[in-house]
Amino acid sequence: MEIPYTYKARPDTGLYNAKVGIWLFLASEIMLFGALFSAYILLRVSAPVGFWPDVALAWPRGLLNIPIGTFNTAVLITSSVTVVLAWAALKMNNFARFRVYMVITVLCAFAFLGIKSFEYNDKFSHYVIRLQDGKALTGHIEVDGKHPRFWNFSDQWSVAKLAEQKVAKIKVEMDPERDVHGHVKAHGSHDHEVREVAVSDIVFMGSYTPATHPFFAVYFLITALHGLHVLGGALVLGYFAFPGAKMWKSNPEQFINRIEVGGLFWHFVDLVWIFLFPVVYLL
């Protein structure tokens, strides 16, 4: 016997197998990301004041690049609509249009990932520095003409190491000043003011990596996991657009179903981002 209902809907449930499967899988994904969001909120509400090196803030805000994040959101939304249009094209028996939409979707996915890795890279070379007087500086730093960047997470670019290398002063290319909401203070702050800081003045220094603050830990974990989903989805949709498209000839119904299921996953990835973006970038 063949396995029934692989692409025809079962009469009493009205669903074909893969659709049941994908929704079950998405339910478990809700729990996965749900747990991460719960962790985020718990860590945030229980963060003690004065914990983030800038004493006024318990939790860093506004450190992520909002224009880029907004743009990426638009990219993902676009891909979400193109994938459903691709499905609709198949429904209307227009394979060529399907392929165009699918290609756009996959391109959007890779654009998203590319932009994301640019953001990551920026964070790795971005530092927060707390000074003896309790003030905190953030920005890219320059040590001996080099812009250090962290690939090795657990080995902090510690003050001790600087002292060891007999570095007396470092340059900080300052971020614009922010208020407690993380908003840039419009007046009086120049973009990229460069300041010299004596190493002896520094209490703590760390780049924007998971080790520096739970915020970054959560940020990197959720976005990386989300990024993996994007990557996985892009590969699968790419497969459907080209090698997997053979099925359109042999079994169009099942092929349409596959596109629908792939699309469902893709929309879910978009959904996660819809919440992720305001929560980590804006709030």
Binding site: T13, G14, A27, F37, V45, V81, L85, H183
Partner: protein, 122 residues
Amino acid sequence: MSQHSASTSASHGGDDHDHDIAAHIRTYLIIFGALLIGTVLTVAMYYVDFSSMALTVTVALFIASIKAFLVAGYFMHLLSEKKMVYGVLILAAIFFVALMGLTLWGSNDLPRNSETKTLYVP
């Protein structure tokens, strides 16, 4: 066999059907627009000072929920989905709320006179 299936899909794509789908596509494009507007709104809200964190969060999540509703309801066809799927999602939703709610509640309801720091942390 492919002969056969091609005819199935052709019969599938009858005139009525095409019409239906065309209407769908219009909806998708409208929603696409709505989502973009929603994104702009969310970001705009960031620059508005609500003075209260709770309000900020509420507004942000409210907009996000509307966007999520649009994606789930129309792109994922959830509005016209079968009972079984609703069942699964409702379970997941309940347990997600339980996880988040009870965990938060549980870690805030400590015995009286407890403090959330070690004795010597200043």
